[in-house]
């Protein structure tokens, strides 16, 4: 039979309650800190990823300028042909201002940078017009199907 009126063991109950509170707070503190640290790590990885991708863009710009100065090219069409041959992903169009080259660089993580350069007809140098990050494409899950709602009456 449990003797509820007994005061024996009340200190034990007090200890258990205090213990419980301490455990709860300490576990909560550690889990909050860990979650925050994981977010910090993710932010650091995204940043490293972005700058690695941007490094590829810088290297591409350097190679374009080297092409201009080191190869024996006499006109803009030759440059365009060489670029098309070496880099099929580059999109080239000719405008009044010269040759516009557009290229998208993509990282494994899905980050993308758009590079747009212009080379005038005097072929001084490739000038960067746009170097910007393109937002990730939003992809719907396959399971979502949109249907027309049927209304009765």
């Amino acid at each position: 039979m449990i003797r509820l009126k007994s005061r024996q063991g009340s200190t034990s109950i007090l200890i258990i309650l205090a213990f419980l509170m301490l455990i709860i707070f300490s576990v909560l503190a550690i889990s909050s800190s860990s979650a925050d640290y994981r977010l910090a790590q993710r932010n650091a990885n995204w940043t490293s990823d972005y700058y690695q991708l941007e490094g590829r863009v810088s290297e591409y710009r350097y190679n374009l300028d080297r092409l201009l100065y080191n190869e024996n090219v006499t006109n803009i069409d030759e440059i365009a042909d060489i670029i098309r041959e070496r880099d099929p992903e580059a999109f080239i169009e000719f405008t009044i201002d010269g040759m516009n080259l557009t290229r998208i660089f993509e990282a494994i993580s899905g980050k993308r940078i758009l590079l747009s350069m212009n080379l005038d007809y005097e072929m001084d140098s490739f000038k960067p017009i746009i170097i910007k990050e393109i937002p990730l494409e939003f992809q719907y899950r396959e399971g979502i199907e949109f249907e027309d709602v049927e209304v009765d009456g």
């Binding site: 509170m21 503190a29 925050d36 977010l39 910007k132 393109i134």
Partner: protein
């Protein structure tokens, strides 16, 4: 034979000890909760700064085109705001990023619409935000957390 007085002294002493013990236990629990609260506030502060810095860097990097980003004085707002112009489905829209009432806020308006400081989406809680464009070089910004820590950022324009 024991004096009645001593047994009540014993009782009083034990009760005092019990009270002391209870107080000590309660203060231990209260200090633990205080430590947790301090930890969470500090985490929250850092998290807001991280969100703010990440948001600003991403926004600027996604709109690094000539004459797309500008800084203007906004009506009803103490600090200057960042205006990013864009064209969506033929319509010219302005994304306005500004600091007001303790938050970085983002608002999107059509080009000819009047700016309303109440129509916005809060991004992160800060104490202060300073943004400045260094012509031909880049955008400089500084975020300050509620705890008073400030962090600088910069996004370079690449024009040559």
């Amino acid at each position: 034979m024991k004096n009645k007085g001593s047994s009540s002294t014993e009782l009083i002493l034990t009760m005092l000890l019990l009270i002391l013990f209870s107080l000590a236990t309660i203060s231990l629990v209260v200090s633990a909760s205080g430590a947790y609260r301090g930890s969470v506030e500090s985490i929250e502060d850092e998290s807001q700064i991280r969100v703010a810095q990440s948001y600003l860097y991403t926004k600027f990097r996604q709109n690094l085109e000539p004459d797309k980003i500008s800084i203007e004085k906004l009506p009803g707002v103490e600090k200057n705001g960042i205006i990013i112009t864009d064209s969506v489905l033929g319509e010219n829209i302005r994304t306005i990023i500004y600091f007001n009432e303790g938050y970085i806020r983002e608002a999107v308006f059509f080009e000819d619409a009047q700016f309303d400081p109440n129509a916005n989406y809060p991004i992160a809680r800060l104490k202060d935000l300073e943004v400045n464009i260094i012509k031909g070089k880049g955008i400089e910004f500084e975020t300050m957390s509620d705890e008073g820590k400030s962090f600088k950022g910069f996004v370079a324009f690449i024009t040559k």
